[in-house]
Symmetry: C3
Subunit: 355 residues, 3 copies
């Protein structure tokens, strides 16, 4: 297999120092084309050293350039070029942001693509080939819609939002500004609602609501968010959802809540603000989770949870109780032996006493 | 963020009363453009009142129009327009169906799209832009295939079936009439079959079977159904699958079975009729689940289950046993303390007796 | 519902015997158009008999032709045509491979499709309609890219790799030779990385790494593999991933490891060689799993595991301990009764002794 070197930028140390308003120590002409952690440094990459715990790595790193704080005093000889800045971590982060923005810099409408004549689009649109914008939809400024993405009818998309390749936005969805919707995500598919008929078959309950996604939300690859039966499924400002998550019809997810992959939330459940969920959590329908709730991975939640709780396990328990319970759980076979031993001893004792 | 009002219809109260063969009480000229629950009523929307438990909401609802039963006698003054009908719930449902059908009314072939010259399509086809119909495939009447959907070669699709944006139907799949396949669903991907080789690597076992989906089936967004190794993976009439479900090769899912999101069923398992599964259930391969089986959320099933059982937990237990078991499970730390206490007491007793 | 017969080939018994260098016994002109298991045999299909345990089925099978070993001596009269070969199982497997290759024989570039002018493609490319190849990407020889698949910028794809309909490969991904990426899979989506801000909202950490998939890897439908924050998420040679799996940023999955559907692996975890995971397994981030580890379905792994272990349960335990633990778990209600009984007896004993 031929493995190419990934190039995400191409700068000399001096250029980077200029951008960061720092000073070079060493070869100002050395070029870097990627970033790396200082402990995994590779030639041609740039690393940073902020946490003194990592200082030992700077003496052996293979990175070509390392960002360091102004007051860094090496204790041994160095083989790398240094760039001294006020705050090495912040400088590194702003450099990453710059590269990221540069990489995502795309504009123009590739052909063939499809924009319904009743749709409107804003300034600086990127529309990839084979992307689709349906009837009466309104797309804001500086929006990027990657190839093969689908925007149905009557959809609203705010400014600066990115919709990656093949994401699907059903009719009537409303998406805020500064959102990122990853590839394969499905927004607004029908809620799972069926009324049983007498013969055991089901009648579909029409799903006439929509999905509302507020600003600054990120939705992971292949995550699905169903529309409401009536009204709206709501994902509030700042929510971050990982990949392969299911949010059912009429749910509401509060501001700045983050969920790891493969979480499932059943219909009409309200999740508060600033929650954090591990992977594969399952939450029943029609319950309420408060604010600042933390739920450990694989936890099964079937009852409402008050604010500020941390829960774990199936059924969900307070974290302290859960940890104690699982310790005992792992010793169940020994516990049964002890119980049997006790029974035996008690029997002997009884027979002695009676004998 | 600019949040538009969602408009799903635009009727006056009198028009709706005429359609439902009901009578108006109040302002016959008031317009409604959406539906809402009576307890969440908003101006410009239509609600219904059927269950007397909800009667209290009609006196304070902000809905503009409420459907009520003919014999409804308000106990207080009302601010809303009423439409009296024989059965308010049924009338509301038929109105939703009408709106739903109206919203999904699409026809015509958008360009560019791809129909292989050897494929055949029926009357009143809707084919979205960038949709694909492969060699020798046969598509029935009144079928809707949304943008970017893929229909491979030798596929058969029955009448009135809807395939939403970006769903992928592999070669040789057979899909019945009146089915709905949601965005991103994958039908007929290769079964997961590999034969180990002596060096620890694997040889792919060709997956030459197909998927057969009978009539009236709904498949959720991003759900995957693998083709059989030989023969068919079969989803029977009336089955409803939620989002992100995995049905492996050679499975069979019986009539009118419904499954919530993130369920996984391993290869060659047969599921009976009228089953109901909660979310994130996992079922092992090569087992048989009877008819009318209910499986609680997150349950792990590794053995066959007879008809009419309700099971819960991992490992799956009869619901009664499971509920009792989980009650004790949550008290394990206390139980261990009790056990330790008993040991101590018994030891004391013994030493007294012996002493 | 009209259910067509699936035709995957069309050969006479004599043609097949010639190809397999075998000899026909019975009607050499009978045609077969599909394969079946001997116990499910249907007219017009070909089966095989290798394992003597299945011999009873050959006397009643409805298959038209059965491959048997040269030395097979029927004990009763047969109604099927036999083809005698050296090794019936191997002959059947090579026939399946042939049919499989034949079915997947596709070439040419369908229109409209999109190849950026800076991209390069190899010999015998199949590029389906509405497929996309972005800037500077390099596609090897004999690659098949199905309709609506997306290959971003700076992507490398090795020889003989197949990318099914609608799979999405983000920028900078590197994919080896002889790989199969199924429909809807997403390779290289952003890792889930956010830094908390003081107001409770999050700042996105740019995800500038990529995904490297080595040779002979198969990725299931709708599976997602995130790019690394820096560096690469690595899927090594011979790995086989089922559908709807999540591999987070900076993970590494060792050679020939296989995982069933709906598994989730959190960020920066290293998985060794030749592992086997059941469905819905969850693995925490930043841990290390050794070589030859087997993990039972639905197991939750939060700590590193050494090579050659087999684990099951949540929390993960050695398989022997897990099986014993679950036996006791199911008897917890009885165990509590026993404990209560013991307490009572002990109390009585004490009161007698003291009395």
């Amino acid at each position: 297999m031929h493995r190419a070197k990934k190039i995400i930028m191409d700068f000399k140390a001096q250029n980077i120092a200029d951008f960061l308003q720092g000073t070079v120590e060493g070869d100002a002409n050395v070029s870097v084309n990627n970033v790396s952690k200082i402990e995994d440094g590779k030639p041609g990459t740039l690393s940073f050293l902020a946490n003194p715990k990592y200082e030992k790595f700077i003496y052996e790193t293979k990175s070509s350039v390392v960002l360091v704080n102004k007051d860094f005093h090496p204790e041994k000889e160095l083989n790398v070029t240094l760039i001294r800045v006020d705050d090495a971590y912040q400088a590194f982060a702003s450099l990453l942001d710059l590269v990221d923005q540069f990489q995502k810099q795309k504009s123009g409408v590739e052909q063939p693509s499809f924009i319904d004549e009743s749709a409107s689009t804003g300034k600086d649109l990127y529309l990839g080939a084979f992307a689709y914008i349906g009837m009466s939809s309104k797309v804001g400024d500086n929006v990027k819609i990657y190839p093969q993405a689908f925007v149905g009818s009557n959809v609203i998309i705010g400014d600066n939002t990115i919709i990656f390749a093949g994401a699907k936005i059903y009719d009537n969805s409303i998406i805020g500004s500064n959102c990122i919707i990853h590839a394969g995500a499905v927004i607004g598919s029908d809620g799972f609602g069926f009324a049983p008929k007498e013969d055991g078959s089901y009648r579909k309950i029409p799903q006439l609501g929509n999905v509302v996604i507020e600003d600054d939300v990120e939705i992971g690859a292949n995550t699905t968010i169903d529309c409401a039966t009536m009204g709206s499924t709501i994902i509030k400002k700042g929510v971050k959802l990982d990949n392969l998550i299911q949010i059912a019809h009429n749910c509401e997810v509060g501001e700045n809540t983050v969920m790891a992959a493969l979480v499932g939330i059943a219909g009409s459940t309200k999740v508060g603000k600033n929650n954090m969920y591990g992977g594969q959590v399952g939450i029943s329908g029609h319950i309420t989770i408060g604010d600042n709730v933390k739920i450990g991975p694989m936890t099964g939640v079937s009852n409402s949870i008050k604010s500020d709780k941390t829960v774990l396990g199936t059924p969900a328990m307070d974290i302290d109780q859960a940890l104690k319970t699982y310790v005992v759980f792992r010793r169940l076979p020994q516990m049964r032996e002890q119980l049997n031993e006790l029974k035996k001893e008690l029997k002997e004792l009884k027979s002695k006493q009676e004998g």
